[in-house]
């Protein structure tokens, strides 16, 4: 059972490390930190299709970015599937409706990436990832909504930060548009979840210019890694 204090801590941990995405120096710093996390996770899970020393390789280039998005969508879809399977006590009709819609969207995103990557680069698509939600109390509204908000805000910053890593030629612009089609839906989710927690907080995550934040893949995966037990190697992603 999560206490409010540990919840706050967790949410704070997810929210930390939001920076503007253009620093190679900081990026490398985070890669270092993330690598340490991956080493810790290495002993826990071994994937047959990938090198056990480096984990599931997201790959390079645009396919790497698509796999990165697929990994995040797997996490979100798994979370909301559990939320709908075991609703928290006191879930209102409105909350059930909205959370079910969001579950449907996230599963659609996950399956879309699986299908699209498999079609474009069948040997590069990452496998299904194992998740660990033991820190989430699915019976508790506060725990579930705080996690939902954290995942949605993380997703928004992840897509916002990944846009500039997509190639400018070939299918790159198409992939950028696809990412844009998804991120605004994630932002719609993030806003309504924030409103369900505290009415009127739909855009409270912005900076002084009223811009949302962006995170590098290393930053995002360091945070998501708390919930993903499969070891992920993001070292070959574009930067």
């Amino acid at each position: 059972m999560l206490t409010d204090k540990t919840l706050e801590k967790k949410t704070a941990a997810i929210n930390e490390g939001v920076i503007q995405p253009f620093s190679r120096r900081r990026f490398l710093g985070y890669v270092g930190a993330a690598s340490a996390l991956f080493v810790t996770a290495a002993s826990c899970k071994k994937d047959d299709n990938n090198n056990p020393d480096t984990g599931v390789d997201l790959g390079s280039g645009d396919v790497g970015i698509l796999n990165y998005a697929y990994a995040l969508e797997q996490l979100e879809a798994a979370f909301y599937s559990q939320v709908i399977l075991t609703p928290y006590s006191g879930m209102t009709a409105l909350e059930t409706e909205l959370l079910t819609d969001i579950r449907n969207h996230e599963v659609a995103h996950r399956e879309f990436f699986k299908t699209a990557i498999t079609a474009a680069a069948p040997s590069s698509v990452i496998p299904s990832l194992a998740v660990n939600f033991s820190s989430i109390d699915f019976t508790n509204r506060t725990s579930v909504l705080a996690t939902a908000k954290a995942f949605e805000d993380l997703g928004v910053t992840a897509y916002n930060g990944a846009g500039q890593l997509i190639s400018t030629s070939g299918n790159g612009p198409t992939y950028l548009t696809l990412a844009g089609k998804i991120v605004s839906v994630e932002a719609r989710h993030a806003a309504i979840i924030a409103d369900l927690i505290t009415a009127g907080t739909f855009s409270n995550t912005t900076d002084v210019n009223a811009l949302d934040m962006a995170r590098t893949p290393a930053q995002v995966l360091a945070i998501a890694g708390t919930y993903i037990t499969t070891k992920i190697n993001a070292n070959n992603l574009p930067s």
Partner: protein, 291 residues
């Protein structure tokens, strides 16, 4: 004008600015040289040319990037002018305190977007057009005449502007790829517009009379090509903002029922992906509001 402060500000957006400017020491030395040799009045120009060098290809502000940012700025001018006009209006004053606070928050966000884009564009920023928020193209008696007195009409307009804004930014993202910092900035604005749209839709959900039968309940996301707005005087123009949102195939992949998940209906499949609008499509939509 404090150049070092400006560089620090740029560094917040682009921590690699010193790398682009060669190195911090060299950059500072160049400033020192500039201050010594160049008349104070021409400093901004000299500084500008240094930055142009620093952001030379592929990060330079090409004509395409400037045009795209100016297009975005024009839309932000429109949104800001709209919220500036409604906050405090008779219609607004009939809303709950929470709804008034939300509209005031969004007003602040849109004005901040204007300021940000003007700052980014500097001397290249276009001036604000003159707007006719009645949608009458200067007549002042367009289909939205009277909106200042009607809270439901204000929210219908707000939702249309926000959903259109989301689609407009999305459509322009590929045109900003040559400038990574501004692509990211635009994406960071794009998601805030989506947050606004989500909240405005949530506010409108309870305005039963303003939502067409068959499109209830109104969702924070766009279902098929539903506007969720029943406003006969401008219905065909409003519908343009949602046309094309009904697609259920992405990159050749049919989303309905994908992965044997039968709960992914055509509605869910359309909601899960927002669709872009081209610049031409957006200009047709906003044309009645620009004098």
């Amino acid at each position: 004008m404090n150049l070092q402060n400006i560089i620090s500000e740029i560094e917040k957006v682009d921590p690699e600015v010193y790398g682009r400017l060669d190195s911090r020491r060299k950059a500072m030395k160049k400033f020192a040289n500039l201050s010594g040799k160049v008349a104070l009045a021409s400093l901004p120009i000299a500084f500008g040319s240094m930055l142009n060098t620093a952001y030379a290809t592929p990060g330079s502000l090409t004509d395409a990037v400037t045009d795209t940012l100016n297009f975005a700025l024009t839309l932000e001018y429109l949104e800001a002018a709209f919220y500036n006009s409604i906050v405090g209006s008779a219609g607004y004053l009939t809303a709950s305190a929470a709804d008034q606070a939300a509209l005031t928050k969004i007003k602040g966000d849109e004005n901040a977007h204007v300021a940000f884009l003007k700052g980014a564009l500097g001397a290249s920023a276009v001036a604000s057009p003159v707007f006719d928020l009645t949608g009458g193209k200067g007549s002042g008696i367009g289909p939205f005449a009277g909106y200042l007195a009607s809270y439901p009409v204000q929210l219908a307009m707000a939702q249309t502007f926000e959903d259109t804004g989301v689609r407009a930014y999305k459509g322009q993202a590929p045109n900003l790829q040559s400038s990574r910092p501004f692509l990211t900035a635009a994406l960071n604005i794009h998601s805030v517009e989506a947050r606004h749209a989500s909240h405005i839709r949530y506010m409108r959900r309870t305005l039963d009379a303003a939502i067409p039968a068959g499109q209830k309940p109104l969702k924070p996301w766009i279902t098929l090509n539903y506007s969720g707005i029943d406003f006969p005087p401008a219905q065909s123009n409003i519908n343009l903002s949602f046309a094309g949102e009904e697609v259920t195939t992405q990159a050749g992949v049919n989303i309905v029922g994908i992965g044997s998940n039968t709960f992914i209906s055509d509605k869910a499949a359309s909601e899960a992906f927002d669709e872009p609008l081209t610049k031409a499509q957006v200009l047709i939509i906003v044309d009645p509001f620009i004098v």
